[in-house]
Amino acid sequence: MNLFDYVRPASLSEAIAAGSKPGAAYLAGGTNLLDLMKAGVAHPGKVVDITRLPGLDRIETLSDGSTRIGAMVRNSDLARDPSFAASFPAVAEALLSGASAQLRNAATVGGNLMQRTRCPYFYDPNSACNRRESGAGCDAIGGETHSHAVLGWTETCIATHPSDFCVPLAALDAVVEMEGPDGTRDVPLADFHMLPDETSPGGADLKPGEIITALRLPAEAAAFAGNSRYLKLRERTSYAFALVSAAAMLRMDGDTIAEAHIALGAVAAKPWRASAAEELLNGATPDAETFARAAEAALDGARPSGDNAHKIDLAKRVLTRALTQAAAGTPDRMPALPASVFASVNGASAHA
């Protein structure tokens, strides 16, 4: 880890002033930043500790019915907030399927959005990586690619975004609130993470000095609470990043799907909203054939970026199953293994 200056500003404006300087990095829970610094991937000259800024740790309902979550709310606190979990069960399930209990106690809402890709070539300073160094090239291409992107990638970057939390958030039209040297700004979460193009590797839409202050879920997002699931396929039962994941939320009208919201995780450099699949489901009857067609539509245009064609099939199966689980109804209690493919449809223990 490199030497750095440490500052702990008392106000948001002081933090932004300090964080606007070249080489500065904001520190919240530190679960990703410290790891990156230890790996030699991140080497900030100044660490600006924003954990004690006032007013960023609240979960509140605004007058328009939307839910506002302060950027410094810890992942575990949000997932275990009874009112939040009841209104947005798939978000709570996604949070609890991520990392470990220790990490969730430290990691913050804002930090989750800002976490970097887990591409091993990004994490290895001896490999070429356009995300680490613009124009350096990409050693992942032609390398070990079994977990890399199958949607939205270019020759510049084939990394995926690792967040579970962001997947249902993208499906529920969450909005990111930011404040920076030029004032405040709102960006839909679905646009916050930018895909790579022919020259840029993409990344978070955050300008120098800007801080994520909150996340907002619109009032309408709670209408999906009765039929919401997150399903995450990983290479071990717990404490692993997704190989592919899906958030499926349905607003039912009797036996018909009135409205579907769907996003896929770990398939692209951003949580992947599947609008074509949603349109196909709106007004449809929830049955296996319809869900299979929706899954085909969600993966339309997918292509392997290496040895990962299997992810396309896996994503279709995971989405089909997530939709089936959502149609069966949100479990009364959080499943013992949140988002696990080893849990039964209703979330009951598979091998207690």
């Binding site: 500052v7 702990r8 220790q102 404490y239 013992a336 293994l337 223990s349």
Partner: protein
């Protein structure tokens, strides 16, 4: 800002001057305060050997920047026993063979204490295994660990009931 932090560790206050800001809470506990029960395993948040309680919540001390922990109330494995009386989780780990080499054990025990305090897992072995998944045991003592957590949780609940009746 002078580089100095104040921590309450197992009830005792420590004022620790730091040479530079790079120290983690784990480094300070082991190298500066001399509490080596908390272990450095992977040092990257992947194994859980460094688990301690900060303000009552279990965290990976290897990923906690010490400067950011200024003022925190920390509990380590050294702070659990009351004199010669082991904490119920410590006693249960011995009784149920919850370890072999013992390197991960302080982290396992602190994580179990945190898990029981969270009150989510009860005596469901699957919820306990899931709740303990941030702690790896390369000796694979997992069946004993799960049994120990279930037993300790039950004993602590019984002791609490008894205390309330008294």
């Amino acid at each position: 800002m002078p580089l100095s932090i104040s921590l309450t560790v197992n009830g005792d206050r420590h004022d620790v001057p730091l040479e530079d800001a790079r120290a983690t809470l784990l480094d300070v506990l082991r190298e500066r305060i001399g509490l080596t029960g908390t272990k450095k395993g992977c040092d990257r948040g992947q194994c859980g050997a460094c688990t301690v309680l900060v303000d009552g919540r279990r965290v990976n001390s290897c990923l906690s920047l010490a400067m950011s922990m200024d003022g925190a109330d920390v509990t380590t494995i050294e702070g659990l026993a009351q004199g010669e009386d082991l904490h119920p989780v410590q006693a249960a780990f011995i009784e149920h063979d919850g370890f072999q080499c013992g390197y991960c054990t302080p982290g396992q025990i602190m994580s179990a204490v945190g898990l029981i305090a969270e009150g989510e897992a009860g005596d469901d072995p699957e919820r306990i295994r899931e709740g303990m998944s941030g702690n790896l045991c390369r000796c694979a003592a997992y069946p004993g660990i799960t049994a120990a957590v279930i037993d300790a949780q039950r004993r602590m609940a019984e002791a609490e009931d008894e205390r309330k009746r008294a």
